[in-house]
């Protein structure tokens, strides 16, 4: 039986992580179908049909799908699940909200946030915020799997021409009403998906000093992170917190400034591709995970760092 991928979109276009989820789905079985549920999704559906790994599209449209409410999405996917061995989607807030609702209706134990497909029934997933990896085999007839997007490359986005089949909408779930969505508009990339993250810790000593972090982040086109200690001290709001109880980030470059490297912080950033630590305590645990460590007073090092960056002709963004 084929794999059913749940496409994520904003009604106008596909969200990029759908391409990563499609790659994971194609590693489970080469026969990948995708369902797209929404309202006026013609353009997003066309984009989906162009993914070469997707062999068939199921399109479900109705006004009550406009805001992606899990209570509305689940019944139609549960019905479609009859014909599929696996239901796959990204483990971002969309998929996290939706998939368990489907799994419970199917009486299936979900496998969350996988980072590797070992075989069609066996997956690798991080537990304890990535401090351990578990190999999990699912013995359920139907498998509900969410995938960590950053662990799979995006699939090709052009060249395919999957046929599109219309599917009837399910009834509206009237007990949940969408009111509004406030998308954070910022020139800065989002912490969870940024290519570069610059983080400050308690070593910053004050909220005011965090503007030093902001300057570097602006220069590098980076997101701003913080340790729990910096958040608890009130230097910065907690939506910047990186760590086990904050966000888990995997950027190409993570710069930790004035962060000692508590376990709870390391759990949120140690999978980053390149890690830089700037700290005046040479024994700080952060150096044990850093590719490049600089033992220095950050108040001297940051201005020098800006100066050196300014000397570069080009900076990748």
């Amino acid at each position: 039986m084929a794999v059913l991928l749940i496409a994520e979109h904003n009604n106008k276009e596909l969200r990029p992580f759908t391409l990563n989820a499609a790659t994971a789905a194609s590693q489970i079985d080469s026969d990948v179908h995708a369902v797209i549920i929404g309202q006026d999704t013609a353009e997003a559906t066309k984009q989906l049909s162009e993914l070469p790994v997707v062999k068939k599209i199921l399109s479900v449209e109705a006004a009550h799908y406009e805001n992606f409410t899990a209570e509305n999405f689940a019944p139609v996917i549960v019905k479609l699940a009859e014909n599929y061995s696996h239901i796959v989607c990204s483990a971002n807030t969309f998929g996290k909200n939706l998939m368990p609702r489907i799994a419970a209706h199917l009486d299936t134990s979900q496998v969350s946030d996988i980072i590797k497909v070992i075989s069609p029934d066996t997956f690798l997933r991080p537990i304890y915020a990535g401090n351990a990896f578990a190999t999990i085999k699912s013995n359920d007839a139907k498998k509900c799997v969410t995938i960590r997007p950053t662990s799979f490359d995006p699939c090709e986005s052009t060249g395919g021409s999957a046929p599109i089949e219309k599917v009837d909408a399910s009834e509206e779930f009237s007990k949940t009403k969408f009111i509004k969505r406030e998308e954070i508009k910022s020139d800065r990339p989002e912490l969870g998906t940024a290519r570069i993250v610059v983080s400050g810790g308690r070593g910053m000593q004050s909220g005011d000093n965090f503007k030093l972090i902001t300057e570097i982040a602006d220069k590098l086109g980076a997101a701003i992170g913080a340790s729990r200690a910096a958040v608890d001290a009130g230097y910065i709001s907690n939506d910047h917190q990186v760590g086990q109880t904050g966000k888990v980030v995997v950027p190409d470059l993570y710069i930790a400034i004035g962060i000692s490297g508590a376990i709870q912080h390391l759990a949120g950033m140690k999978e980053s591709k390149v890690i830089v630590a700037i700290n005046k305590d040479g024994e700080a645990p952060i150096f044990s995970v850093a590719d490049y460590g600089l033992e220095a007073d950050l108040f001297e090092a940051i201005p020098q760092f800006m100066e050196e960056l300014n000397k570069l002709n080009t900076i990748q963004k």
Partner: protein, 249 residues
């Protein structure tokens, strides 16, 4: 309005996890355990709603081994009125826990069920949504703000793109984000008082729910270790390495 709050006992977030040498799991013997952090936010919110006169009773529940009861006792010390401990040993998957909670909901008939958005041990992020599906109730996951309006809740949810606000009819499930509130500490007098509050013990086997695992944990291993890095002498060398060696800027 009655609020049922589910709490889970997990390894404390400040503890360095050690993987067992035989690959069967992580070491939990002699390791500090605590309430799952966002479950503390769930309790706090329920107690605040009661203090605001919008709820009449807060019931804390946990599912698990003998010692899991500590988390219920802690909830009682910060304001829950009574507790329920569903006793079950071994690995309990979120599907099994949600089926147990469904049975308790049938019996207790709460108007709201709160819990943390995710447990920091298995990181599944499933139980609230599954319970909501089994009950066919509305769900508000990753809640960072809750307004109780008669028989409706207005909930702000933390989503990847920013914030989303929804309105759900009671009865409903809410899973709580860390940003929802600042959990209080239990005062000594309240810890003493909590010892007298009742905790009902129920054997999971008496609930008529199949809780046997569907997933096989083949092995648990340490994540790949990072290659040891180098110390650079100065900022100029650092920037040069990032530019020319790591090629990330």
């Amino acid at each position: 309005m009655k609020i049922l709050v589910a709490v889970k006992r997990v390894i404390d977030y400040n503890v360095q996890i050690r993987v067992k040498e035989d690959g069967t799991g992580v070491v939990t013997d002699n390791v500090k355990m605590s309430t799952n952090p966002p479950d503390d936010n769930a309790i706090e919110e329920a107690v605040k709603i009661k203090e605001a006169g919008k709820a009449t009773e807060v019931v804390a529940i946990t599912v698990g081994e003998e010692k899991a009861q500590e988390t219920v006792r802690k909830a009682l010390a910060v304001g829950a009125d009574r507790g329920i401990h569903v006793k079950a040993d071994g690995i309990l998957e979120p599907l099994a826990v949600s089926k147990i909670l469904q049975k308790i909901v049938d019996k207790e008939k709460p108007d709201l069920v709160f819990m943390g958005k995710q447990a920091i041990d298995d990181d599944c992020n499933q139980t609230g949504q599954m319970l909501s599906a089994l009950l066919n109730w509305p769900q508000a996951t990753f809640a960072s703000k809750i307004d109780v309006k008669d028989d409706k809740l207005e909930v702000t949810r933390e989503i990847d793109e920013g914030l989303e606000t929804i309105e759900i009819n009671v009865p409903a499930i809410v899973t709580c984000d860390l940003r929802l509130n600042e959990p209080r500490y239990a005062s000594l007098p309240n810890i003493m008082k909590a010892k007298k509050k009742p905790i009902e013990e129920i054997a999971a086997s008496d609930l008529g729910v199949d809780v046997s695992p569907r997933l096989e944990q083949i092995k648990v291993e340490e994540p790949p270790k990072r290659k040891a890095g180098i110390k650079v002498a100065n900022v100029a060398e650092l920037v040069q390495k990032l530019k020319n060696e790591a090629k990330v800027i």
